[in-house]
Amino acid sequence: MIADTWHLFNKYMRITIRMPLWSLFTLIQPLIWLLIFAQLFRNFVQLPGTDGNNYMEFMIPGILIMTVLFGSSWSGVSLLREITSGTVDKMLVAPVSRVAIVLSRVLHSAVQVITQSIIILIVAWIFGGITTINLFYLLLGMIIVFLLGVAFASLSNGFAITLQREEPLVMIGNLMTLPLMFLSSAFVPKHFMPDWIQVIALINPISYAVEAIRTVFIDTPDMAVFLKGFVIVLIFSGAALTWAVTAFNSLRD
C-alpha cells in the first residue's frame, strides 16, 4: 500500500510540477487578501479590545488557513475527471491498494498547500507581516497546515465520490471554505464576534487550527494552545480521510 501510494503520489506531483501556473492561480486570492485586505483593515487593530498590534500579523494565520482551504478543497474535482476519463478504472483493474488511490491524492494536495503556504509566508515577510521567524515553530505551523490540507482534500474527494457530479461539488467546496473561515477566529478575534458565531467558532475545527498557528507565530508560543489545536485537527483529518476512503471503496457498482 505504501509503495502504491508513493507511485501514485509521484505521478500527481509530476503533473503539478509540469503545470506550475495552476498552483499559482490558487494563490492569487490569498495574496489579494493578504495585500489588499490587510491594508484595508489595518486600522482595525486600533479599536479598543484588540492588542494594538500589526493587523497583518494577526491575519497571516487566517490567510494561511485560507490558502489551505482554497488549495485543497478542489482535489475532488480532478478525481471526478479521473473517474470519467477512465484513469481510475485503469488503476482499479490493477491489483493496486484501493486505499492508496485516495491517500496519494490527499497527500499530494497537502504537500501542494504546504508549498503554497511557504510562498505566502515569504510574501508576508517581504511586506513586513512577519517579524520573527523560528524554524522550529514554522515547522509546527506547517504540521497544522498539512493536517488541515489532508482534512479538506479528503472531504472534497469524499464529496466527489458521493455526489458524482461537478456542479454540486464546486458548490459544496464554496460552502465549506468561506463560511467556515468567517465562522472561525481567522480574521477577527473571538470576543469581537456575536454570541452565536462564537458558539459556531467553538465547534469549528478551523478556529483551533488558526489559533494553533497563531500561537507558534508569536514570540512566546503557548504550547497548550498548539497541542489542543494539533489534536483537534488530527482527529478531524483522520475522520475525514477515513470517510473518503470508505466512500471510495464503496464505489464499485
Binding site: A3, D4, H7, L8, K11, R14, I15, R18, M19, L80, I83, T84, S85, G86, T87, V88, D89, K90, M91, L92, V93, A94, P95, V96, Q164, R165, E166, R252, D253
Partner: protein, 403 residues
C-alpha cells in the same frame, strides 16, 4: 490454464432500480481464442467486460477468469488480465513512458523488468519515437496503441478490449487490427473484444457472440453464423411503406421460395434459398400487384442479417441507448458523460460514410443487382455485397483520401 479462459454462468446484473443489464448470461471463451461480443449500444457488452475485469459487482451467477473466481480472488484475476476500456485511461499529462511505467508499478513489477517490457512493447507497437512525448500530443490511433501497450505491461494471459477501434479512422483501425491479430497468433493471448462494427467482429475473431438485452443470442464462427441463414438475402426497398407494400410483404411470405422476412424501415429483407432465381420472381410479383419497387438487392447473408435474425433489429439502424438519470451519466460507472461524446464522434463517422456512399453509388454500384440503403438509414459499415468486407476497405480509403 483451464480449457476455458473465461467461463460465465448465469450472470445477472441489475442496475438499480430495475434495469437488467445482464440477464442470466452464459459465455465460455476458450484459451487462446479471439472472441467478439457483437451488439448494439446498451446490449450489455461493456457491463460484461466490467464484471470480468473485477470493476463491477454482479447480482447472481458465477464468473471465472483464467480459472479463478472473480468474486473470491479479484487480485489474482487482476494479475492475469489486461483491460483496455472504452475511454482511454491514459493520463494525458504524462509521457507514454511514464504512463507505462506507472502501470507497471501498480502491478508491483520490478523496475528493470518494467524498463525491459516498455522497450519491448514500444517496439512492437511502433511507439518508440513517441515514448517520451506527453500524451496530449498523440493522435487518437497512437493513444489507443499506448492504451493497449499499458494494458499488456504485466504480461497478462487474457486481454479485454472494449470497443478497441471506436472513433478511429480507417487506417488506424486496420493497423490496430493487425496488432490485435498478431497478439493472438504470436503470443497466444486470449482476447475478448466488444464491438458494434460488424466487419471488426468478422475479420478479427474466431468466434462471434451476438449479445442483445443482456443475453447471448447466438454464438459461433462468423461463417457458421452466416451459414445459419441458408441461402441468400434479398432486400427490397420502397419509396414509402403503405398498405400496398404491407400487402406485398404478406404476399411474399406466402411464396414457397421465401423462408423468412423482416422489415427494417422502408426495406423488406427476404431470405431465400436461391437469390438469382427469386429476384425475377419477386419482380414479377411486384409488377403483377402494381407495386413500385425502388431497388432490389441481392447479397450473401452478412453478420448483419444474422443479427437481424436473432434480435429482430438491424445493426444498421442506430440503436437508441437507454438514457440513465442525469446523475448516473456522471457517475463514471460506465463513463456516461464520455460515452455520450464517443457516440457523437461515432455518428459523425457515419455521416462521413454516408457522404462517401453517394459517390460510391454513382461510380460503381448498379442499383439493379446491388442496393445501397436509402439516405435515411445510416450505415455502420460494410456494403451488403458478395465480397468479403475486408476487400472493400481499400475502396473506402480512396474516397476518404479524396475528401
Amino acid at each position: 490454464m483451464d480449457k476455458y479462459a473465461i467461463q460465465i454462468k448465469q450472470l445477472t446484473k441489475i442496475y438499480p432500480p430495475n434495469h437488467k443489464a445482464l440477464d442470466e448470461l452464459d459465455l465460455c471463451v476458450n484459451a487462446s481464442e479471439v472472441m467478439a461480443l457483437l451488439g448494439p449500444n446498451g446490449a450489455g457488452k461493456t457491463t460484461t467486460i466490467r464484471v470480468l475485469s473485477t470493476l463491477s459487482g454482479f447480482d447472481s451467477g458465477q464468473v471465472m477468469v483464467g480459472g479463478l473466481d472473480v468474486d473470491i480472488a479479484p487480485d489474482k484475476v487482476r494479475q492475469t488480465i489486461g483491460v483496455v476500456a472504452q475511454q482511454t485511461g491514459i493520463d494525458y499529462f504524462l509521457t507514454g513512458r511514464e504512463n507505462m511505467r506507472l502501470q507497471g508499478q501498480l502491478y508491483h513489477m520490478k523496475s528493470n523488468d518494467i524498463n525491459d517490457r516498455i522497450s519491448e512493447l514500444a517496439e512492437y507497437f511502433d511507439l518508440t519515437g513517441q515514448l517520451d512525448n506527453v500524451v496530449t500530443t498523440y493522435s487518437g490511433g497512437i493513444r489507443r496503441k499506448l492504451d493497449i501497450a499499458t494494458a499488456l505491461i504485466h504480461r497478462p494471459k487474457i486481454l479485454f478490449l472494449d470497443e478497441p477501434t471506436l472513433g478511429l479512422d480507417i487506417r488506424s483501425r486496420k493497423v490496430l487490427w493487425k496488432h490485435i491479430r498478431e497478439l493472438n497468433t504470436n503470443f497466444g493471448l486470449t482476447i475478448l473484444l466488444t464491438t458494434h462494427y460488424l466487419e471488426e467482429a468478422d475479420s478479427l475473431s474466431h468466434r462471434v457472440a451476438i449479445i442483445n438485452t443482456g443475453k447471448i443470442q447466438i454464438i459461433g464462427t462468423p461463417d457458421e453464423l452466416k451459414n445459419s441463414i441458408k441461402g441468400d438475402s434479398v432486400v427490397v426497398s420502397f419509396e414509402k411503406v403503405d398498405k400496398n407494400e404491407q400487402a406485398f410483404s404478406y404476399l411474399a411470405k406466402q411464396q414457397d421460395y421465401i423462408k423468412d422476412s423482416v422489415w427494417v424501415g422502408n426495406n423488406l429483407h427476404l431470405y431465400v434459398a436461391d437469390g438469382a432465381e427469386s429476384v425475377p420472381k419477386l419482380m414479377m410479383l411486384a409488377s403483377k400487384n402494381q407495386i413500385e419497387v425502388k431497388s432490389l438487392a441481392l447479397s450473401r447473408p452478412s453478420l448483419d442479417d444474422v443479427f437481424l435474425k436473432y434480435t429482430g433489429s438491424s445493426m444498421q439502424t442506430p440503436q437508441q441507448e437507454t438514457t440513465d438519470e442525469w446523475w448516473k451519466q456522471w457517475a463514471g460507472k460506465g463513463g456516461g458523460k464520455w460515452q455520450g461524446k464517443w457516440d457523437n464522434s461515432d455518428s459523425s463517422d457515419k455521416e462521413q460514410q454516408e457522404a462517401g456512399e453517394e459517390t460510391w453509388e454513382n461510380n460503381q454500384w448498379s442499383s439493379s443487382t446491388n442496393q445501397w440503403n436509402d439516405e435515411n438509414t445510416p450505415h455502420t459499415g460494410e456494403p451488403q455485397d458478395t465480397k468479403k468486407p475486408a476487400d472493400t476497405w481499400p475502396d473506402k480509403n480512396q474516397w476518404e483520401n479524396k475528401s
